[in-house]
Amino acid sequence: MNHVDLQGLGLDEGGHLLVKRALAAIPVGDTLVVRGSSASLSVHLRAWCRAQGHEFEPSADGGVVRRGSAEVGRWRGAERAGAADCVEDEASPRWGLGARGCTVEAGGPEFDFPLRTRSEIWADDAARLYAQAVAAQWDPGSAIPWDAPFDLPDDVEDAVVQVMTYLIENETAALVIPARFASQVHPHYREVLQLLAVQAADEARHIEVFTRRALLKRARPGLSTTGGQASLKTLVEERDFAEATLLLSVLGEGSFLSLLRFLHEEAPDPVTREISRLAAQDEARHVAFGLSHLAEQVRSDPALLDRLEQAIRRRHDALAATSGLNEEVFDALVLLGAAGLEPLELRAGWQKVQALERDMHEGRRRRLARLGFADGRADELSSLHTRNFM
């Protein structure tokens, strides 16, 4: 006779685990004698068996349980959510939020993750980039010399505040876009999801440090222009993952790499210098993921290049009537590049900003070429990029 002795353990303090275990060891339809000294054992066994679909006959010190078929039946038709150690070409909506490789009970809800094919979102180095990003997280509180003493002329401080104001709205776009796509990626492609999440966290930090610098010596940030916001709006509204990756990560954040390096070199104070350096480090990863993701896509689908080209042209046309980079930001950059307000100094600043724009263009051209655009085409498409940089 199969039996299990719970001794003093009640069914309302974990005793059902022993009963379950003993039932799992006998065939459906066989009986199990349950004994124990808990006063409520037979009352609880009756209720538990009813809920689990087992038959029950009480006795003085427990009762007899006849194993029902429901628990076994529950896992019939269950399916594996892919394999734990590799990604599938397509992820099923039925896998839902389940861990990759887990066993999913049949009949559950389907989740509508629009990005659920490998070819749309996967990049082989997503896991490596994610690990790198996690290891490179820095704490804005301790990584930046917020208390370093400095005192800038009003003109220069104003210029820094204006550049920070511009950076903040660009960083906000750079946070919102990966965050939105993260919610659309099927969790089967976990590494991509994680990478987008940590990218959004990077941008959250950038927003924080640029805001703190803007308000370090001033009561409020500077100006936000229609041209700048119009440019960012076309990015935020981009619905296609590949096109958004190209416009935001490859071209926009790519240009920002040059800008942040410029700010690092020309920074008039230690705080601006350090936040520019740290943000540039993060941006380099964002650009790297965008590039490797798109390069992989293009390899499997060369026609994607045409679509990407159209996206650049469409955005250019949409922004043709706007002014692009606002005058205030441009002037502020010149001022930061200049050592002072003497004509010769301003000329030097002007030339540095010219060099910055050439550097941005060259970077974009190089990255477009890496994606597979012919040299001339890459050059032309780079020049169509928004004058707002991002």
Binding site: G10, D12, V43, H44, R46, A47, R50, G68, R76, G107
Partner: protein
């Protein structure tokens, strides 16, 4: 609409809509045109049943006895055609705090017993009748505290039993009544920490809800309805969520021989006399 089987049910919880919508869809996929009406209380549902508003009632045990009593007044026969496996052979318990000086039912004399809604078979009527049959009259030999205002739902909502259990732990009552499964559930969720209570007495077995039809129900439709219910297989992933929502593993044939405890309780407490009388008068 002549080929539609109409069911009446009580909306004791918003999930009722999810449940019966799911059944409607499933029955539809299996060729049975099924629809349902929701009532806010069982009395209105029983009345509607006799007025021909629908064919099958999803009745609480008390509503079943109400329908049976009204039927016999009006010369109509009633039948239970199906029920849940989880509604068979229930018991209720009366529990006290573990350290209580109440050792026997007799010790409840002069004390306060917490129960569920006044019309709850499992949390009020059956346990109180059980105590009465052991010699102590409610409201005379001991005080009864009722813990649910949702009268008309026949205790379908677990809230009243939980409140009675909490009152027991808070020392506001000396004993509390509940269905056996809730004693286990309240232990699991921490309302009645394991070992904090002692079961004073357990009632005999009784059955709970059933699908009830009257003698004028469309026979072929009802037969198809019952046939489809029995075909619902817990192993079928399309069916399992419905069964889980409704809290069963499989549908059983209707049986009516385990409502005796409740019948004795309502006789003792005159629970449904007024309702039955009102329907009889309305029919004159």
């Amino acid at each position: 609409m002549s080929n539609t089987l109409l069911m009446g049910a009580v909306a004791y919880d918003p999930k009722v809509v999810t449940i019966w919508d799911g059944f409607q869809k499933w029955f539809g996929e299996h060729g049975l045109d099924f629809d349902y009406l929701l009532y806010s209380n069982y009395e209105r549902q029983v009345e509607g049943h006799f007025q021909g508003h629908f064919h099958v009632a999803w009745n609480s045990p008390l509503a079943w006895l109400q329908a049976k009593a009204v039927g016999s007044e009006l010369g109509r026969s009633v039948e239970a055609v199906a029920m849940r496996d989880t509604d068979c052979d229930l018991t209720s318990v009366v529990v006290v705090r573990a350290g209580s000086d109440i050792r026997t039912v007799e010790d409840l004399r002069g004390r306060t017993v917490g129960v569920g809604a006044g019309d709850s078979p499992q949390a009020t009527l059956i346990p109180l009748a059980h105590i009465a049959e052991l010699g102590l009259e409610p409201d005379e030999d001991f005080e009864v505290r009722r813990f649910d205002v949702l009268v008309g739902k026949h205790g379908d909502h677990v809230g009243g039993e939980r409140h009675a259990a909490k009152a027991l732990m808070a020392g506001e009552v000396d004993a509390a009544c509940m269905i056996d499964g809730n004693h286990w559930l309240f232990g699991k969720e921490g309302t009645l920490p394991s070992g904090a209570t002692r079961i004073l007495t357990q009632t005999g077995q009784y059955d709970h809800c059933n699908f009830t039809v009257l003698d004028d129900a469309p026979q072929a439709l009802v037969e198809e309805f019952v046939r489809l219910l029995h075909s619902m297989d817990f192993e079928d992933p399309n069916v399992r969520p419905l069964l889980q929502l409704e809290g069963l593993k499989q549908w059983e044939p209707g049986r009516t021989d385990k409502y005796g405890l409740l019948e004795r309780a309502i006789d003792r407490f005159d629970t449904i006399q007024e309702f039955v009388g009102r329907l009889r008068e309305a029919r004159r």
